[in-house]
Symmetry: C2
Subunit: 174 residues, 2 copies
């Protein structure tokens, strides 16, 4: 079961740091790729630099139209999960989503989300029904999907952290 | 077991949106309060507006010196948890932390964190050993601490979302 993140509603410059956090979370929590409309090249570059140092092959891909991404994804028979505070609780829906055994497009909005997204998604899922953060929502969703195992994944990076009680211990492959 | 979040390293203006996400996550995931050094008044105001609409009494408090917050917290006998990618994995440490049955100060840094924080903390905890986001780290930590129950908490707000598969359903108390 693969997960690809689609970040919609990204506002140039204004959302730069938040969308970078979304990409880093997608990568660290086990997604394959983030699709984003109209974003800064720097996001792509900074994720590439993270891969070079810390491993893995997570990609950021610029797309021109989110609606056609949703349509293509739907017609391939895979599933679309939209994270929204208005949706069904993740803990009430995650087993059904897993049972589908399909690849997932996980849609993450910025402040306002077009109505179409609710209609086109197979699942509208809330991570609690309080306003918070799309970054946190993505992390919790992927954590539930992969049952926390993503946190122990080996990225085979040239740098690897050795978990430590008090310091910063990093193994560097020469 | 209460959790208070201490946000350190906040950079005026630059970190405004990220620190706002930290505050919203702290509130939605069951912390009592966020302490922050040198932040914008708007953060306090926007959280107040969220409480008025969506309930609860989560607070943002400006503090002048994080070191004295850590010292006071330590001398009260409560515990300090610092979230860092260099720490011990949350899933290897969360049971020990819960067994302490103490209130927790959860320290969340921005990019670089002073060495003192590692030394003064009782636990340096990683949410995976990959770089990602302090917003995601806080969400996962509080989710593990409160075992996901925080997501179903009733905030008794004047507005309440009714989880819905397709739409936005909000009950408003008149």
């Amino acid at each position: 079961m693969k997960a690809v993140v689609l970040r919609i509603g990204h506002r140039y410059v204004r959302d730069y740091r938040v969308t970078t956090h979304v990409a880093l979370v997608a990568r660290a929590f086990g997604a394959e790729k983030m699709l984003v409309v109209n974003s800064e090249d720097e996001i792509k570059k900074s994720i590439k630099a993270v891969n070079e140092r810390w491993g893995g092959d997570f990609e950021v891909e610029e797309v021109s139209n989110w609606k056609s991404v949703l349509k293509d994804w739907k017609s391939s028979g895979n599933k679309i999960v939209h994270l929204t505070m208005y949706g069904i609780s993740v803990d009430d829906a995650i087993d059904d989503i897993k049972e589908e055994k399909k690849d997932l497009l996980v849609v993450i909005g910025a402040e306002k989300v077009p109505r179409d997204i609710f209609d086109m998604s197979d699942y509208n899922i809330s991570i609690g029904n309080q306003p918070h953060s799309e970054i946190a929502a993505l992390a919790i969703f992927l954590d539930r999907l992969f049952r926390g195992k993503q946190l122990k994944r080996n990225f085979n990076g040239s740098m690897n952290i050795v978990p430590s009680a008090k310091g910063k211990v990093v193994k560097t492959m020469m």
